[in-house]
Amino acid sequence: MSWGEIAWNGVRFSTPELWEVAKIGPRYLLLAYQGEPALEIKWEKIKGRFSHQTALKRMNSLHKNAVQESPLPEEWVKVLGDFDVMGFTWQAAARGGRGAILYCPACGNAILIQFFGNLSGSSYKTCRRVLASFQDHSDDNRVRWSLFDIRAEIPAEYRLLRYRFEAGRFEMHFGSKRQRITLYRWGPASALLGSGDLFAFAAKTIRIHRNEWHPLTCTGHHAVQWEKAVLGGLWARCWERMIGKPHFQWFRLWHLVGKNRLLGVGANGDKTFPSELLDSICTQYETL
């Protein structure tokens, strides 16, 4: 069985590749196997003290007292050593599940993680491996995003604002104060480019005339880039701000011929982005 990594809004873990992401929220993931729920994870930053008992009571009030505290298997507790842990089980008419409420003293995250179904020997091992790979914060100041077939690393100060995962078009928007970064992924490239080239696609999609884009190479792939910064004095900048136009705008799109995908990164804000930051985001942004 092959495994893959999922990283979303601060949490990271590995799952069997057959488990598909079925539902996504800003701090929520539901994975399904063959159309049936397999794993659910919710997380939240806690301000102040956290009580496992209160969290369990809240779950019980939501699920008509179907949830019971239950000790976790020894192996699970061992792999979750970095967390304060409380195990629980629940049983409903059609299905049941087993999970844990975790609290990370290092970053103050409370996490609810549960596996659905009646867990047998092999699934216990699978769950153990999922839990062993689970991380809710990183030591460097970057957050990894890895979902479906894209993987990127974004500086931690950029929070997820919105996202869209549609067939053929993925978008993830991040923001920090008035600075914005957007990741794009389009596919299949052969159909989207048609008889045109990357310039034509960029001009049509981003709505910037094709003559304003210039060619370059990004991570060994053919790319196009556009950049605009408001020049001039204070008055020009004030005027741009009054009409709501960002001082700095930047786009880079590149074509991964082997993967039949188009990737893009956009940035805009009131301050010019350091080119090293944009380059590092582009370098680490990849399709799997």
Binding site: A167, P188, N260
Partner: protein
Amino acid sequence: MRLFRKKRTGAEISCAEALNCIPVRNLQAGETRGEAGLVLLCYPVEIRPWIAGWIRRLGGSSDGVGIKKLQLDELGTAVWDLLDGKRSVGQVIQRFTALQRLHPKEATVAVTLFLRELGKRGLIGLR
């Protein structure tokens, strides 16, 4: 508001059962290929009786059946070509995923939505 909710008719099938169904083309649908190899589908649609009546009154001839056209793009044509009456929905998705090098989940969503649209127009049926 429950009174006004649309009643669901027919038995619901599971995801696995739906993927095992075999899509079959409507034999009455005509297919023509353009220069770029893109498929143009022509299919009969029933005109509502009162509209057919008006057409007749205005001097036109209407037997109650009109012809509609649907121009498929490159991806639509690729899926249409895979509907051979033998492959199941799941197999069509697998083949389409491999052909276009797409993520399986993405291909599943795209193909099932497309097949649903074709089904709504009466261009295919599921066996």
